[in-house]
């Protein structure tokens, strides 16, 4: 594929998708929770931008709606809720570094290569230019998963989960021109409800183990009975 032959808007989609992938790496390696939430908000905004541009190039009108929904939910509402939660749990100054950041980053790079290899047969069909993005979105999903595995802090794990959802949405938009509106609405509200539930869980976990480090949940406590 010669990139120079594509219209400028389609080149823009590829650039935006690449930045979404980069933000996944930023999320993975970010030590400060507040900065991680900001990175997540930017990722949501970029996914919304990709959706808008795909809608504009393909003249798919319902995608404008889902772009607006994504922007409102993933770039504004959920980051705001997380922000409020973090402030309420007094975690603004909390920093948590990965055990070996370089190794985790290299694992994420390996995941990108793996997802490219996985998608390769599909790309060779060459149905639309956006097929290339499927590899990127798969990588975003896998990096979100990696983040959930390596992070011990509950809020950071939720960020990983939400960025996985970003990746799935990117795949849906780029591969098939968006899901039906009903499905999209359903997923959006699921995510919202999940966010609310996570908030409740944070408070509960915090109350029972006095920390949000989920590794501590593995330990047995003898004094558990008399609470």
């Amino acid at each position: 594929m010669n990139l120079g032959l594509l219209p400028l808007l389609q080149q823009l989609v590829l650039v935006l998708a690449a930045i979404v992938l980069f933000l996944s790496f930023v999320l993975l390696a970010q030590n400060r929770l507040i900065s991680a939430i900001h990175a997540f908000a930017w990722q949501g905004a970029l996914v919304a931008a990709v959706t808008t541009v795909v809608a504009a190039t393909g003249h798919i009108h319902h995608l404008y709606f889902s772009a607006a929904l994504t922007l409102a939910l993933k770039a504004l509402l959920i980051p705001w809720m997380l922000h409020r939660l973090v402030r309420r749990l007094e975690l603004e100054r909390h920093t948590e570094s990965l055990q070996s950041p370089t190794l985790v980053t290299m694992a994420a790079v390996a995941l990108v290569i793996f997802s490219y290899w996985l998608v390769l047969p599909m790309i060779q069909e060459e149905l639309a230019f956006t097929r290339n993005i499927v590899a990127i979105s798969l990588a975003v999903v896998l990096i979100g998963l990696l983040m959930m595995v390596f992070r011990t802090q509950a809020v950071a794990q939720v960020l990983g989960f939400m960025s996985m959802e970003n990746g799935l949405f990117l795949a849906a938009v780029s591969a098939t021109g968006g899901m039906p509106l009903v499905v999209e609405l359903g997923v959006a509200f699921d995510v919202l409800v999940a966010m609310v539930l996570f908030g409740v869980f944070f408070l509960q976990i915090r109350e029972s183990i006095d920390s949000l480090d989920v590794d501590r949940l593995n330990r047995l406590r003898e004094t558990g009975g008399d609470q």
Binding site: L8, Q11, T102, N132
Partner: protein
């Protein structure tokens, strides 16, 4: 490529490399001036860097009595290697004979040669500061070089050539194309350039007192013309990186023929681009604080990650189908 090797081509190549030497202090003076204005100072005049060099060149060069001949030879080697490296980067026009005989890998190699001699000279006299500076310089160099090579390979893969002249030519023919890989390569190369030319988040070019210095620590024992050559080659290095970024990523305006009009336009374009880059550098240096040395690997890891993502996104997004 053989048709590059003509007499006017060689004359122009020599002229261009002399222009590198002549312009390097101006860029440093410009960055200092903008920085001073941003800090509400009037700052030294633009030509102050030339005056400093002139003053140093006229002074007597004192050499410590423990120094070996390498200490005396190092400034000349460093200066020549940096100058040769600069000569391979097209400043005004593409298709010069220097471009035909040297590509980006030679450029990286020449810079590595300069770095090795700089570090050796730092250790030669045997002062504590020199050895410390040399060890830090090698740390930064070892981390920055892979990132730079990776960014360079991204360019090379797009243009199917490691020759800077043909890379720039390819972009001029291709017109304006948004490439995700270039965005990442640009980011990686900017971080590498900042680290390699000893600018603020990694090293502070104006400090002489703290324990944090890297580049200055190796030059502490130099004086007179030796010091002038060392500082001059650092300035050429900054100009080299600036030109590399300006002309490879924003090649518009560079001359493609040897006519006077093309040369004039090329000079005006490159001066404008370098002035803009210098202003951005000055703003960056004003906004950011210097990092602790132990955070430098993180900074350069980010550069490596950006370059690596550039390479990957080239393969995934641009060649993919």
């Amino acid at each position: 490529m053989d048709n590059y090797l003509t007499l006017p081509g060689w004359v122009l190549a020599v002229f261009q490399s002399c222009l590198y030497i002549a312009l390097a202090p101006l860029l440093v003076g410009w960055v200092r001036k903008v920085k001073a204005r941003l800090q509400n100072r009037r700052g030294a005049p633009l030509l102050q860097a030339y005056r400093d060099l002139y003053k140093l060149l006229a002074k007597e060069a004192r050499v410590a009595h423990t120094a070996s001949p390498l200490f005396r030879a190092a400034p000349y080697i460093v200066f020549t290697a940096t100058w040769m490296a600069a000569a391979t980067v097209p400043l005004l026009v593409v298709d010069l004979p220097t471009a035909a005989i040297a590509d980006i890998i030679v450029l990286v190699g020449l810079l590595a040669l300069a770095r090795v001699f700089l570090a050796l000279a730092g250790m030669d006299v045997g002062t504590a500061f020199g050895g410390m500076g040399a060890s830090r310089e090698m740390l930064i160099g070892a981390l920055a070089e892979p990132a730079m090579l990776m960014a360079v390979f991204t360019l090379a893969m797009t243009a199917h050539s490691t020759n800077l002249s043909s890379v720039i030519d390819y972009h001029l023919v291709d017109g304006f194309v948004l490439r995700p890989s270039y965005l990442f390569a640009l980011g990686g190369l900017v971080l590498v350039a900042v680290a390699e030319s000893g600018r603020i988040p990694i090293d502070n070019p104006t400090t002489h007192l703290e324990l944090t210095m890297i580049h200055e620590a190796m030059l502490l024992e130099y004086s007179g013309r030796h010091l002038a050559l060392m500082e001059w080659s650092a300035q050429i290095k900054l100009l080299l990186y600036g030109t590399l970024i300006a002309n490879v990523f924003f090649p518009w305006g560079i001359g493609r023929g040897f006519g006077a009009a093309a040369l004039g336009l090329g000079l005006a374009a490159v001066l404008a681009k370098l002035a803009a880059l210098g202003a951005i550098l000055a703003v960056g240096e004003t906004v950011l604080a210097k990092m602790r040395l132990f955070r430098a690997p993180e900074f350069l890891n980010l550069a490596l990650l950006l370059s690596l993502l550039g390479l990957l996104s080239h393969v995934i997004l641009e060649v993919g189908a």
